[in-house]
């Protein structure tokens, strides 16, 4: 899952990026809204976390801009203002959820999961494929009756494929989704991850489509 965070506070931004990493979210962090448009144009994000009190253009202005661009991805607003007016305004302008500072990291992660799940058209919190079951909230994968241990990147990759079950995903698309801008990617990183996952869940679930990418179906 790849997220875009727009937050001007250094320590809070750092905390959100590091904290969400613990929940296997890959977060790109912008300190203000100036690069928002280019970031959204170049990368497919699963959700945006938007602070309202930003220098320059305010979060609400950015939200309006985003919706005008025709982008429907979920937006979660972070705000220091807690009056009903502020909340209503944010939601009316196209936000999907809001959290008031200071917030709980677990709750932020949970809300993001729910937002993304709904955005992907699912209502169940569990991802299933035959006897393979993934619980993103608990960060756990079970096949039959055995629990499978996956690394953070492996988990993200498997989750991505399960979320997009039936669709072939290119290597590039997968890279975009599980690596932040700041992370270095080895050229064969995805192949290595797929290899490791197949070793843990069995070789048949993830199929390789030559010259296209990978699919679960």
């Amino acid at each position: 899952m790849r997220l875009l965070l727009i937050e001007d506070d250094e320590i809070l931004g750092d905390g959100i990026v590091a904290g969400l990493k613990e929940f296997s979210y890959i977060t790109d962090w912008l300190r203000d809204g100036r690069q928002m448009e280019s970031a959204i144009a170049s990368t497919e994000y699963d959700a945006i976390i938007l602070d309202l009190g930003l220098p320059g253009e305010s979060g609400l202005t950015l939200l309006v801009k985003l919706r005008k661009m025709g982008k429907n991805l979920p937006v979660l607003i972070l705000t220091a203002r807690d009056t009903i007016d502020d909340k209503v305004k944010g939601l009316d302008l196209g936000a999907d959820d809001y959290m008031i500072k200071p917030f709980d990291l677990d709750e932020l992660a949970a809300r993001l999961r729910a937002l993304i799940r709904r955005d992907h058209g699912r209502t169940s919190p569990l991802l299933k494929h035959n006897d393979l079951e993934m619980n993103p909230a608990e960060h756990s994968v079970v096949k039959g009756n055995t629990t499978i241990e996956l690394s953070a990147k492996e988990f993200s990759l498997l989750q991505l494929l399960m979320e997009n079950s039936g669709k072939a995903l290119s290597k590039r698309k997968i890279e975009d989704n599980i690596y932040a801008w700041s992370e270095e990617i080895e050229s064969n990183a995805i192949e290595v991850h797929i290899h490791n996952i197949r070793k843990k869940i069995g070789p048949d679930i993830i199929k390789t489509i030559r010259d296209v990418g990978y699919i679960i179906k």
Partner: protein, 464 residues
């Protein structure tokens, strides 16, 4: 000592009315009495004259018939006496007639036996047997016939009493009516005051809308105006305060959110490096929040209306030198050269503590935004019109857009990521305003920021 205008007015008006009415009554009484005296005396005199002419004629006619003289005169006098009895006031009229040469003597029914006066013409008073008489004595030209017409004084004093009573009755009936009317009138006149008092009394501390000046006497208008101006100022201060409190509370939420998130990471992560990083961030965040709170308190103390009128003649050069000395360790960390041009004392009438806060904030900003190995120059100049203070750095400077709002509270420059409270320049502005100083932001000679503050000499600092 508080007192009631209404009560004073009532007491004054009522006592003045009473006194003037009483005086009028007394004057009327004395006037009436003297008029009555005069009138009655005239009557006495006339009666005496009539009697004299009557007696004189009879005596003249009967001059040759001496025997009959006495009887005829007597008969005539009885007639007169009867005639006199017809009038109630004249009933008590008494007279004595005597003749010096002939021993003739006549006393009317009411008259005492002894003569009521000596034999000189004129008015006189006498008390006989407890009765106070007013007497007019008239002598004929030959000094033979003496006529004394007398009247008891009680007659006149009865009349005077009656007149006095007729004067007092309206006084006692009219005065209470007038008192009540005056009372009511004063009440009506004072009713707008009561209305205003009630209006103000009904208010709670949040109701600061102006008091209606409609239907208010012009004498009260200045009071209402002053009150409304005070309400307006108070309202502005309270609004400001409320907005500031809200802003401050919200401003504290972001560092708290950072603290909480970092603390959760430190608690959750297995990676000792990540934990160390999070703990470092927590410490940094606590320092920053502490700084924010200190700045908030400073700003609160500089609010108009707070007791910040501690002005004295102080030496600006010394304040600058002291503040620079305090800032040197911070500048040293980034290897920044920090210096001031002036060593001579420059006198300025100011709040020394506020000035050093202003300088500290400007120096903090300059050092924060100046890159390592940079420089910050403080320039002081004493001119005839005032003192100019400028602080120039070779940091990134600020854009023209930023100049517009850097003085607003909780604003942070677009261009930098340095962690400030967003209050530093608000504090600077507030202190400059208190000293009627003018702030100007411009590009320094090394493309950094230059802040010029001019303290004019002519004007006295604001005392709020």
């Amino acid at each position: 000592m508080p007192y009631s205008i209404r009560q004073r007015l009532l007491v004054f008006i009522l006592s003045l009315t009473f006194i003037s009415w009483s005086m009028i009554a007394v004057i009327n009484y004395f006037n009436a009495r003297s008029e009555i005296e005069e009138l009655f005396d005239t009557h006495l005199i006339q009666s005496a004259k009539v009697l004299l002419s009557l007696v004189d004629q009879e005596l003249y006619e009967q001059d040759h018939n001496a025997d009959e003289t006495g009887e005829n005169v007597l008969f005539q006098l009885k007639d007169v006496e009867e005639h006199l009895e017809k009038h109630k006031y004249e009933k008590l009229l008494a007279f004595q007639i005597s003749m010096n040469n002939a021993g003739f003597k006549f006393n009317s029914a009411g008259a005492p036996d002894e003569p009521l006066s000596d034999n000189t013409t004129g008015l006189s008073d006498i008390v006989v047997n407890g009765i106070h008489w007013r007497v007019y004595t008239l002598l004929d030209p030959a000094n033979i016939i003496v006529i004394r017409v007398a009247e008891p004084h009680s007659l006149r004093s009865d009349l005077v009493s009656e007149i006095a009573l007729s004067l007092l009755i309206p006084l006692f009936i009219g005065l209470p009516i007038i008192f009540i009317l005056i009372w009511k009138t004063v009440d009506i006149i004072f009713s707008p005051l009561n209305r205003i008092a009630e209006d103000i009394q009904r208010r709670n501390s949040a109701q600061l809308d102006p008091v209606s000046g409609f239907d208010v006497p012009t004498e009260i208008q200045p009071l209402i105006n002053a009150l409304n101006k005070l309400f307006y100022r108070l309202d502005r201060v309270i609004r400001n305060e409320r907005r500031f409190t809200a802003d401050a509370a919200h401003e504290l939420r972001t560092p708290l959110a950072g603290l909480k998130t970092q603390a959760q990471i430190a608690k959750r992560t297995q990676d000792p490096q990540k934990r160390e990083h999070a703990l470092q961030n927590i410490l940094k965040s606590v320092d920053r929040t502490t700084h924010l709170i200190e700045q908030l308190l400073t700003l609160a103390r500089l609010e108009p209306g707070v007791n910040n009128t501690n002005y004295s003649d102080c030496d600006l050069t010394r304040i600058v030198q002291e503040t620079i000395a305090d800032a040197l360790p911070l500048a040293g960390k980034k290897n920044i050269i920090l210096q001031v041009n002036e060593a001579n004392s420059i006198q300025i009438h100011a709040n020394a503590q506020a000035l050093s806060i202003l300088l500290r904030n400007l120096l903090d900003n300059a050092i924060r935004y100046t890159p390592e190995n940079g420089r910050v120059d403080v320039h002081l100049e004493d001119t005839p019109t005032g003192v100019s203070l400028s602080i120039a750095d070779n940091g990134p400077g600020i854009t023209d857009d930023d100049k517009e709002y850097v003085f607003k509270r909780f604003s942070r420059s677009n261009e930098n990521r340095e962690s400030g409270s967003g209050l530093g320049l608000s504090i600077v502005k507030q202190i400059a305003d208190l000293h009627h100083a003018v702030i100007n932001l411009s590009k320094s000679s090394e493309n950094g920021l230059q802040v010029d503050i001019f303290f004019p000499r002519a004007r006295q600092p604001v005392t709020t």
